[in-house]
Symmetry: C2
Subunit: 469 residues, 2 copies
């Protein structure tokens, strides 16, 4: 048979012809130092499993129990039955392909109203596979050509610069102001510079609350100013809010003038809550408020889209069209389990996260206290060491008088048994070489005390002026 | 306070300035007729909920029970515990962010060995959010510039042409031969034409078994020939295999010369099973063999990638880097539930799908028998009606002597109470205007009988020569 002969020939050719793909012929994002930096970080973490790690931004898992998954799932299925769905319809909802926009938009909308005072049409929501997919969809929808530029606050979450790289989109950094968040004047200047270069500044990506990696938050008063600047420059604002709940002193930041939802919970108003022009696209995630293993996020996109034939849709509908080409729809399993969790907490995650909020707040306070203890003010100035004091979230930034790069990080892991994240990869246009990010979310208070002691020893070992001690 | 004034101004601006985004300023894929066609199909399906529908390609759900989800999940967690993971490590696996490549590659590899005789290194696997995400990642990795062209068999699954549109990649159709699958000569011709136009033909997308939408399968003998042609033209082959299990006569197609796995199950060899040059990237899905609500797919990418510094990785590792920018990782929940299902079936889905395979086979046989009954040979020729006779899968194609477009489809739903899918959107370069796709997966045999009768009445009503009846 011809086939047999061909197979024999093929087999013989094996060793000579096995496919080898030169990296340079694959998409350029694969040779991006940003992706390599992330890979390196993961590798180092695996190589030093016993090191205390200030690196991962993952939530504390002490609140998770496998039995809860069953209870959440059952709660959602019962809810469907109570809404009048037949057994067969419940089965379809759980097991089949589902609507591209998702099946729990109503529950998410109720939760946003309860927790953030955000009143959104469930039709303006798209459930996504983490906020990461939402970012990808929003960037893809908004940036039509290589001339469309995304402004990003700098330092910037690598997820958004990475998504832009995957889509071959240009980003322009806007430096964070001293108070946190991009300064409105810097936004205007960046938008004008982009326009002067013949391109279109399309949107501004910002994490106003406890940003990753800087930990900083925008003052309440600056938020409306940022929206005004963006509107004047014709920019949409992409607000990413994974950490908003986790204020260091629950109810306090922003003080009495801050936003108080219907339940009187504290925190500052989101940009979306201040949005009067529908200029804000809001990205949310259940990774930190429920758990990451469901990989559930969402986007609120209530902007109107006008077709040439006069038809009007919401941006959310357009994002759903794109989503049918990335993941078809978000797993019903994940939506059912998180939906059940929302139902069991009466769609109030801020309350449900009371213990988690207390945990993160205490951890952050511990880190700041221990840094203070190891580096008293006078010595701090002498050594050239400083840090910021975030009002909440998972991260703080330590400034040191030496290059805090991958080599330094690996040395620190090997010799001092403590891990952290170099900041430079978070700066799209360079910078941050002497900064490191410290995450407190996944450690215990005891580990933070030990880790800070080890970190202080490492920092001293690298400080030119520490020899005088 | 300044803030108050600013907010008041902002509020006043509301009605005049609410953001409206012209569709023409969003990404061009959103104005693509392909996406509109899919939206239209969904809308019509919703408008005629009582119509018998040959449209959806979703699996039969009579085999799904919600209790099974709990049992599958528990089976996977027990498996982790038996492998020696502590309670805390099990919790981490289920609830946290996880490895980008996934957590059940070992179980999927065992299943591929049992069911397809495919022996793959688990390290060459990436678990994805459906095969759709795998397609997106593979296209993104392989197509580095606008000069890189994807060849697709035509008619072609819309998921792959859609993913290409999202990434602004060019596709070139290669017509399916009369026996199913792209003809090797047509592949060579298309590759050379692309090269002559100054671009690079990069890969060929093909569904060798029971293709969506055509239902056809490549003959066994043609498969090695296709691989040879692709290798000569420097093309990787992207093999998508969602329907391979569902032969009309289990064990028979391909006959004794066909591939028999270790369990003696029938079917033809996958292209990947014949791959001696590592030239095939294999896409798999659990949507049809387990259930779609988990949204779990995977890609086998065992090609070596060579970096300029001499480091070697697998293409799977590069895909994982990209995946960290699309969905970070595939939901652990979905992987745990499908992993448990695999374990409970001893990693043999072909056996586990015995009842499903019998169901689809009987349905397809029913459709073909009913078409035969309503259109006997002589009349068929007179009317200009014909259809193909797939050996398995979910789909068959009916050729009619009139334009089977959206208007015809809506008329048919309204007046005859039966739905189907126009084929034209599946032809990237035009064609298929007088063809319609019939899916048998989600109907009962009784519904297929009724639906075929209604469809036959509709077809006669449109046939110019039917008046003579």
């Amino acid at each position: 048979m011809t086939t047999t002969t061909e197979q024999a020939t093929t087999e013989q050719a094996t060793t000579e012809q096995a496919t080898v793909l030169p990296l340079g012929e694959l998409h350029a994002s694969l040779a991006d130092p940003l992706l390599d930096a992330m890979t390196f970080l993961n590798e180092v973490t695996e190589r030093y499993p016993d090191a205390l790690s200030f690196a991962p931004g993952r939530p504390h898992e002490g609140f998770f129990e496998p039995e809860d998954v069953h209870a959440h799932l059952d709660a959602y299925l019962t809810h469907l039955a109570e809404r009048g769905l037949s057994g067969s319809a419940v089965r379809t909802a759980l097991f089949q392909y589902g609507p591209t926009k998702g099946i729990i938009a109503d529950l998410v909308a109720r939760t946003l109203a309860n927790d953030e005072g955000l009143h959104v049409d469930p039709g303006a929501l798209v459930l996504t596979v983490g906020a990461q997919e939402a970012m990808l969809l929003v960037l893809r929808a908004l940036c039509a050509t290589p001339e469309d530029v995304l402004l990003v606050s700098s330092p910037c979450y690598v997820g958004v610069t990475g998504a832009a790289r995957l889509l071959d989109l240009a980003t322009e950094p806007v430096p964070e102001g001293p108070d946190g968040g991009p300064d409105p004047r810097a936004v205007r200047a960046a938008a004008r510079a982009v326009r002067a270069s013949g391109r279109r500044p399309r949107a501004l990506y910002v994490v106003p609350d406890f940003a990753n990696p800087s930990g900083t938050s925008m003052p309440t008063g600056a938020r409306a100013g940022l929206l005004d600047a963006a509107a004047e420059e014709g920019l949409l604002v992409i607000e990413d809010n994974p950490y908003g709940f986790f204020t260091r002193e629950p109810g306090s930041p922003g003080g009495p003038g801050g936003f108080g939802g219907p339940d009187g919970a504290g925190g500052r108003p989101t940009l979306k809550a201040l949005d009067r022009r529908r200029q804000v696209v809001y990205l949310g995630s259940f990774a930190k408020t429920c758990f990451p293993g469901a990989r559930l996020g969402y986007v609120v996109a209530d902007q109107e889209v006008l077709a040439p034939d006069g038809r009007r849709t919401l941006l959310a509908d357009e994002l759903a069209k794109l989503k049918s080409m990335t993941t078809v729809n978000t797993p019903a399993l994940s939506q059912a389990v998180i939906g059940g969790m929302l139902l069991r907490h009466d769609c109030r995650l801020r309350d449900a996260n009371g213990p988690a909020r207390a945990h993160y707040a205490a951890n952050l306070a511990t880190l700041l206290r221990e840094l203070e203890r190891h580096f008293p003010p006078a010595e701090r100035a002498r050594l050239g060491v400083s840090w910021n004091e975030p009002e909440g979230g998972f991260f703080a930034v330590l400034q040191v008088p030496f290059t805090a790069d991958e080599a330094a990080m690996e040395h620190c892991a090997r010799e001092y048994g403590v891990l952290w994240t170099p900041m430079a990869p978070f700066y799209p246009a360079g910078g941050g070489e002497r900064r490191l990010r410290l995450s407190i979310s996944a450690l215990s208070r005891r580990q933070i005390e030990q880790g800070t002691a080890r970190l202080a020893a490492f920092v001293r070992s690298r400080c030119p002026r520490a020899a005088a001690d």
